[in-house]
């Protein structure tokens, strides 16, 4: 099994080898594709870290060979702006706008957000990649351990919640600590909020925006995702990612299509 770093590698010709392990059913995970795009940008950008990224998903790529096209839109002293496209067989699969900058681990100048109240990690439930009764395998869960707050899991017992919240602890199964690129995976956790509300269908992401705010401390991250509304067949999901030292390390928001 490849590590996150190996699975998202992009060579000098911007060729990637998309790894079937980072998938939900037969679809490669959005956060994984974002990390491949982000790694290709980082390879060319003078500034070291991805700080913002919006990705539009066009067509699901298959595992295997793919290429990332990167165009610098503006390179400044403290921020660089890039467009990145994931191409497979001459077809665009995803397009992203990426902002590069410099992250550190300093204390915030000002903060209002509070770390989430979650049960202890050992009291959360490890999601299996093969859930009994599930119509597909969530291969991603074998490389990214999700331990979810039991309060989110009523849907699995036929008792969906009305909270619209998914929360838990995430760790990379290869033992690696989180970094600005792997945090993109954490900004798109499983399952979608819609499933916790009892909507079993696929919730394809239309657009996902992630901000990385800080270099994460070692250890698991806590992820809290909530939706505000499901309206006209679309759901928003807002995510905060907190590191083991109680720092907000990433934020995200996505709009997904939901058939209700």
């Amino acid at each position: 099994m490849k590590s996150f770093r190996e699975a998202t590698a992009v060579d000098q010709d911007r060729q990637a080898d998309l790894d079937p392990q980072w998938a939900v059913g037969d679809k490669l995970h959005g956060g994984y594709l974002m990390a491949v795009l982000g790694r290709a940008v980082a390879a060319t950008a003078p500034l070291p870290h991805l700080v913002a990224m919006t990705t539009t998903f066009l067509r699901p790529p298959a595992p295997g060979a793919a290429r990332v096209e990167v165009e610098a839109l503006r390179e400044g002293r403290t921020a660089g702006q890039y467009r990145a496209r994931l191409m497979q067989d001459g077809t665009p699969c995803a397009e992203a706008l990426v902002t590069q900058g410099t992250l550190d681990a300093s204390a915030p100048w000002w903060a209002r957000a509070k770390p989430p109240a979650l049960p202890a990690e050992e009291d959360c439930l490890l999601l299996p990649s093969n859930q009994p009764g599930s119509p597909f395998t969530v291969h991603l869960l074998d490389v990214v351990e999700h331990r979810l707050d039991p309060a989110c899991l009523g849907f699995a017992a036929g008792q969906p919640s009305q909270d619209g919240r998914v929360a838990g602890y995430l760790r990379l199964a290869d033992g690696a600590d989180w970094d600005p690129l792997s945090l993109l995976i954490a900004t798109d956790p499983a399952p979608p909020v819609s499933l916790t509300l009892g909507v079993t269908g696929w919730a394809p992401t239309l657009s996902l925006t992630a901000y990385v705010r800080r270099l994460p401390a070692p250890g698991p991250v806590r992820v809290v995702m909530h939706s505000n509304e499901i309206t006209s067949g679309r759901m928003d999901e807002v995510v905060e990612v907190w590191d083991a030292a109680d720092n907000l390390v990433a934020q995200a928001t996505q709009l997904a299509a939901v058939r209700v």
Copy 2:
């Protein structure tokens, strides 16, 4: 003075005439530029409404002639994806990823968000475009009336808040009701949260993501913006826009550079 519709018009050759009235100091307002880009996309897209848009700001355009380049990335039955670029004198000024879809005014299938608690509109304070002591004129405030919750305005009396919140009522001064494109203006309200915290410098947007959730009811919108953190010279701002019928009509998040 041009109406919003006139000021954001894009002709058949995708030429716009950027209007100096929609500016903060000598910089055209981000939400205004987003609306120009969105109008150019809507002119070519089969689906009627902008539902998601992320814009990266590259170089501030000057008032006057500009051109919008639009490329369709994927056109599906319920969602279309586009790239739009604002060009001036051959130079890209902003690039956006836009999702088109169909909005309606139906009740949400599920909702968790609650309308904001704000003082009555008449108890909020109309921001003047020429604030005594301000180093520049906020021309935008003569076309978009901002009536702010007095609780946000301590900074103007030398008493900055630690709340990290800006909230108030917005109306188009030309009397027009809000629509999916003008709501983009409301997703980038004045002033930035940093100013309410006592940081007087410019807070240029690196990337702004807006979702339009519903066709708005007539009347003013209420806008609530808060930041989670200012860290490493960057600030997030999260915005909710509610219509006069207590519906969430738009959401946004932006990352801005702040010098503290």
